[in-house]
């Protein structure tokens, strides 16, 4: 591939389509391995896209904060006195030290351990240990703005989900999510009380490229019945029935993806192994249909998965949310949470918390099977010959349809790789674009 030759190093403006094929049906393995491509991804994608950082329920009161990452940047998501949310880069403008080492809590101010610089909840410089030494310096205080903790350019929420972005010229969050707002309402707005995260966040390391779990979560229904055969066997004593594709779909737009099957509207929820959850969903079904309509009432718990570009994965039904934070071309740090309706009865919430744990927690009967595949996708591709063999991604080519009831670009059949192809096309567009005006709306 020409892009990796010396006269065409990976850079904005380069032809990244060459690495995924015109229809993105063949993927060059080097996009998962190359350090230069990875560094460019941090700038072209993680610095320019809206990134999921928190759920509002994690920080209900002024001074409440949680830590997260935007790409490789450690960030603090802090509730302000006026209920707005600020996202600070967790680094001191003096020597660069990490300012806050806690992952959540409540603060009046943040104080750096190194020289005692202190910052308000909004990141504004308040003062330092030995302040008079700074005040006596000729140029101190000339521009106090430079003494503040750096922050994200913009922060916005969509129905409880907090996103932040470093690029001030990006589209609004609403435009960025596009038709996926309509889809996300199935999870976030099926009850008037809204949603919350369970307290806590799973964190674990997987030695793979971030795009490997991302393309999986974008639509890989094909792996579910095989990779995860042991989960249903343990829960129900038998495998999941194969999909016939009549009422199942891949939908995508601007790199966001959702695959779902309307025939089994409680499919993913049933995998939690909790009768209380199923009873709760059946009891509420009529209400949800009235609120959101038939399609969304079904997809909220169907056998399905979601990707919000670039790295937020969601498993409807089990209500697992996860971010694949990049840590170099060969490593990720997974953060994952459980979502539940705020108004759900306590015993139903408890069933969701435990069901989420036993399925997709780090010791969960489904999660256990993914990690090894994702690591060896990476490791088995590193050989000097293996890395030259492109990867097939052509299932469902030509399956595109129009469906008035389903927004976005729709392909027929869940056993499809249409979403993965759309993810890589958007990836190539973002990698090549000099700025947001060059990103084609798709």
């Amino acid at each position: 591939m020409a892009i990796l030759e010396t006269d065409n190093r990976p850079q904005a403006g380069a032809n990244f389509t060459a690495l995924i094929g015109e229809e993105s049906q063949w993927t060059d393995r080097r996009i998962f391995l190359d350090e230069e491509i990875y560094q460019l991804e941090l700038d072209q994608i993680f610095r320019r896209c809206w990134l999921f950082v928190a759920h509002e329920s994690q920080i209900p009161e002024p001074g409440d904060f949680v830590s997260s990452y935007m790409g490789e940047d450690s960030v603090l998501i802090v509730r302000q006195a006026d209920q707005s949310i600020v996202v600070l880069i967790n680094t001191c403008p003096h020597r660069g030290n990490r300012v806050c080492h806690a992952e959540s809590g409540k603060v009046r101010s943040f104080i750096c351990n190194y020289h005692g610089w202190s910052f308000g909840r909004d990141g504004k410089f308040l003062g330092a240990h030995q302040q008079d030494a700074y005040d006596a310096s000729r140029d101190f205080c000339q521009d106090r703005g430079q003494l503040n903790m750096p922050s994200a350019a913009r922060v916005d929420s969509y129905k409880g989900l907090v996103f932040a972005i470093f690029d001030p010229d990006a589209p609004s969050l609403q435009d960025y999510l596009g038709d996926f707002c309509w889809y996300l309402d199935a999870l976030l707005d099926n009850d008037e009380g809204g949603t919350e995260f369970f307290p806590g966040c799973y964190k674990y390391l997987v030695e793979t490229n971030w795009k490997t779990p991302v393309e999986n979560t974008s639509g890989d229904a094909l792996h579910a019945g095989w990779t995860h055969a042991s989960g249903p066997e343990a829960l129900f004593g038998r495998a999941v029935a194969p999909d016939k594709g009549e009422h199942s779909y891949h939908v995508n737009q601007n790199g966001h993806c959702w695959q779902f099957n309307l025939d089994y509207p409680l499919g993913n929820a049933a995998a939690l192994g909790e009768k209380r959850v199923l009873n709760y969903l059946r009891e509420r079904n009529d209400q949800v249909v009235e609120r959101l309509g038939e399609v969304r009432a079904k997809i909220m718990n169907a056998i399905s998965c979601i990707l919000i570009f670039p790295n937020l994965g969601i498993l409807p039904g089990s209500m697992n949310f996860r971010v694949y934070h990049p840590r170099g071309p060969n490593k990720i740090e997974v953060h994952s949470w459980g979502l539940v309706n705020q108004n759900a009865p306590p015993d139903v919430k408890e069933a969701y918390r435990k069901g989420g744990m036993i399925t997709f927690g780090p010791a969960g009967i489904f999660e256990l099977d993914d990690g090894e595949n994702w690591e060896f996708v990476n490791r088995a591709s590193r050989g000097q010959q293996a890395r030259r063999a492109p990867l097939y991604l052509g299932v469902g080519l030509g399956s595109e349809i129009e469906d008035a009831n389903i927004p976005g670009h729709v392909s027929q059949g869940q056993m499809n790789e249409a979403n993965q192809r759309s993810f890589f096309r958007h990836w190539a567009d973002m990698m090549a674009a000099e700025d947001w005006t060059q990103v084609p709306g798709k």
């Binding site: 080492h101 806690a102 992952e103 959540s104 809590g105 409540k106 369970f198 307290p199 806590g200 966040c201 799973y202 964190k203 674990y204 390391l205 997987v206 030695e207 055969a229 042991s230 989960g231 066997e233 343990a234 829960l235 129900f236 038998r238 999941v240 029935a241 025939d263 089994y264 409680l266 499919g267 049933a270 995998a271 192994g273 909790e274 009768k275 209380r276 199923l278 056998i303 740090e333 949470w337 459980g338 015993d347 408890e350 069933a351 918390r353 435990k354 744990m357 036993i358 927690g361 780090p362 010791a363 009967i365 999660e367 256990l368 099977d369 990690g371 090894e372 595949n373 994702w374 690591e375």
Partner: protein, 206 residues
């Protein structure tokens, strides 16, 4: 409509039983209050045997060592400031394990399934149990039943395939019961010493 993933599931009662959900006060271990030497030896043997059956993957034997009312809890450990009243773990938060016997049986079934590809070839593992302290409890509710609070440290070492490794240290607090001539594990709280789990998963018991 054929709904393949909606079989009848057992009703699971809401959990309201007491759990080891906070720091257990460190009372000084007085000789007369401590367990007798034969009891201490019996409990040590119980824990060593448990470690061995887990190493051997003999999960049937392991399940037989658990009380029917077991609560097996391994909370996720958070990084919080020392002054934070929430503490760095607690009930109702995300956990690796927060299991009753039914949950543990599901996990074992999955481990033993012929389709658990990522357990074949098997993971090689060693459970090292050390720093065992045994303390009798006040519970005298039944004449033939005695319970002991048992603290120990577990080193879990896993090795898979050619060179995949996982090493975790945890501090355990157990409630071990002697009833009808049999020793059983009735409660276990496992405090891991890692925040970000430095492994891709936990395919083992602690």
């Amino acid at each position: 409509m054929n709904q393949p993933m909606q079989p009848d599931l057992p009703d699971r009662p809401t959990s309201d039983r007491p759990i080891l959900d906070g720091p257990i006060p460190d009372r000084p271990m007085q000789d007369q209050a401590g367990a007798s030497e034969p009891v201490r030896r019996a409990i040590e043997s119980f824990l060593y045997r448990e470690a061995r059956v887990l190493d051997e993957g003999d999960y049937g034997a392991w399940l037989a060592m658990l009380a029917p009312d077991i609560h097996y809890w391994m909370p996720f450990i958070e990084n919080r400031r020392n002054e934070d009243p929430a503490g760095n773990y607690g009930p109702g938060r995300l956990a690796y394990y927060d299991d009753d016997l039914a949950y543990l049986k599901i996990r074992v079934k999955r481990m033993q399934a012929s389709t658990a590809w990522s357990e074949d070839p098997a993971t090689r593992q060693v459970h090292v149990v050390t720093n065992i302290e045994v303390e009798p409890t006040e519970d005298r509710s039944a004449e033939d039943r005695r319970e002991f609070v048992v603290r120990s440290i577990l080193l879990s070492y896993r090795n898979r395939g050619e060179r995949d490794e996982g090493t975790q240290f945890a501090r355990r607090t157990d409630l071990i019961r002697f009833e009808a001539g049999k020793w059983l594990l009735a409660r276990r709280r496992i405090l891991l010493t890692q925040n970000v789990l430095l492994s891709r998963n936990i395919n083992t018991f602690f």
